[in-house]
């Protein structure tokens, strides 16, 4: 199996992730639920993971790293904490349903700062035009459909200028691009643990500037006599038993990313994407969503073909051992922006563990499938 669906979940993980999870399962209990060795081992590891992530995002305070189930969970905490019914919320034209649906549920007045793909200057201008008078901005760092890198530092600067609270969806950029949380001045950054950070499914992270409203209430292993949730982080936002096995894997994944460096990992994924794009562009009838400027795109490549549906292409590739994802990728907003809503796209996305040989095989197989049509 050649796995090219890392924008959904990175399947291949460093060996250290598996080892860390097995070790945690055998030896660790729950942090804050006792003073015995298994509880304290879990507490030490969870703290190490917070400290590692804090360092990764250039932060000093590990308690502002909140463990969540996934990026959607983290985004829900952020959105439900600071968006109220009727608030004017500005979003990019590339947002995932993990952003769009909670905003709809809250009853926000959502306005899309629309701009074409792979044109960061246009995105800056669209935000500059829409931010005055807004309450909140929510912006993905990288489009999950097209790998388009939005100009986040500039958008964050505009938000600061206009006094607009910024929530960042770093689902496709955490572990891929450098993110300097204090410099951005965002209120929250949400991310999964199971994509670029190379941790297991069931892990996510919310980075907080200050506090937030708990989405759930329950035991935290602190202030147990009080009926209210604690007022301090991370306890305030982490009710219930932690996914310690997952967090152990996440710690190993983050360490792997930091040891190798995001620049090196991204360069590899970009090289794979550029190579695949060049090969697929040679196929008659194939539309390839590729940026002329490589730095505007990560290792995510969407395509569609005149004669075969995206679902059909993905199914045939899958039947022949190449895993990709087709459809709307939970991002109808992005597809409306790119005018691909009616067809969806077939998305190839890469990890540090994919090779050029795999990409060549996937390109050749795609050409073969399309030529049979």
């Amino acid at each position: 199996m050649i796995y090219l669906d890392s924008a959904a979940t990175s399947l291949q993980k460093p060996r250290s992730v598996e080892r860390a999870m097995m070790s945690a399962m055998r030896s660790m209990a729950s942090p804050g639920r006792g003073g015995h060795r298994p509880a304290m081992l879990a507490a030490d590891m969870a703290f190490d993971c917070r400290a590692e992530l804090a360092g990764f995002f250039h932060m000093e305070n590990p308690e502002r790293i909140i463990f969540t189930m996934n990026a959607t969970h983290a985004l829900n905490i952020a959105i439900h904490s600071c968006v109220r019914r009727g608030d004017r919320v500005i979003v990019s034209g590339f947002e995932h349903n993990a952003v769009v649906r909670p905003l709809h549920t809250v009853g926000a007045e959502v306005k899309i700062a629309a701009s074409p793909m792979f044109e960061p200057q246009a995105a800056i201008e669209a935000f500059a035009k829409n931010l005055p008078g807004a309450d909140i901005a929510v912006c993905c760092h990288v489009s999950n459909v097209f790998g388009y890198v939005l100009p986040l530092p500039e958008i964050a600067q505009l938000c600061r200028q206009h006094g607009v609270t910024l929530i960042v969806d770093a689902s496709q950029s955490a572990g891929v691009l450098d993110i300097n949380f204090p410099q951005l001045g965002a209120e929250y950054i949400a991310m999964p643990g199971h994509k670029g950070l190379l941790g297991p499914q069931g892990t996510g992270v919310l980075v907080c500037r200050d506090s937030a409203l708990p989405l759930m209430q329950g035991g935290t292993g602190s202030n147990s006599a009080a009926i209210e949730m604690p007022d301090f982080l991370p306890d305030r936002l982490e009710a219930g038993t932690h996914n310690i096995t997952g967090i152990a894997g996440l710690l190993a994944g983050v360490r792997y990313v930091r040891e190798n460096g995001t620049k090196k990992l991204l360069r590899h994924e970009r090289d794979l994407g550029q190579m695949l794009a060049k090969r697929l562009m040679q196929i008659p009838g194939m539309e390839v969503f590729r940026s002329e400027e490589p730095t505007y795109q990560t290792g995510v490549l969407s395509v569609r073909h005149r004669d075969i549906t995206c679902e059909e292409l993905a199914e045939r590739l899958g039947a022949n051992g190449v895993a990709i994802r087709a459809g709307l990728h939970c991002s109808p907003t992005a597809h409306r922006t790119a005018d691909t809503f009616d067809t969806g796209t077939a998305r190839f996305s890469f990890s540090p563990f994919n090779t050029m040989n795999e990409i060549q095989h996937a390109a050749a197989l795609t050409a073969e499938i399309v030529n049979k049509e």
Binding site: P31, G32, G34, G35, H36, R37, M40, A43, D44, F47, R50, A51, N61, P62, E63, T220, G221, S222, N223, S224, A225, A226, P230, F232, L233, P234, D235
Partner: protein
């Protein structure tokens, strides 16, 4: 003489510095360890006046003043401090 806390053998006398949460206790321990002070994170015993399930760091008597200064400098404003008896029991509060 001595006693065990969190599975580690301790010699006396020692002090418990109360922290607002487990994570703060862990941060405090890291701050102290960075300047060469042995600090053990442990669950707060009965009699420390907390609201249940609190954590603290344990330091030796000789390093208490230094520890409190370091924690204050690190913006980890230490909470109450208790002196531990030879059996690990709370003797008395020495700092509010």
């Amino acid at each position: 003489m001595g006693y065990e806390i969190a599975g580690r053998r301790c010699s006396m006398p020692h002090y418990l510095i109360m922290c607002r949460s487990l994570t703060y206790a862990q941060r405090a321990a890291r701050v102290l360890e960075r300047i060469g002070i042995t600090a053990i994170v442990t669950k707060a015993p009965q009699g420390t006046g907390h609201e249940g399930c609190a954590y603290c760091v344990k330091v030796s008597e000789k390093r208490l003043a230094e520890s409190l200064t370091a924690l204050k400098n690190a913006d980890l404003g230490p909470g109450k401090v208790f002196m531990l008896g030879p059996g690990g029991e709370i003797l008395h509060e020495v700092r509010k």
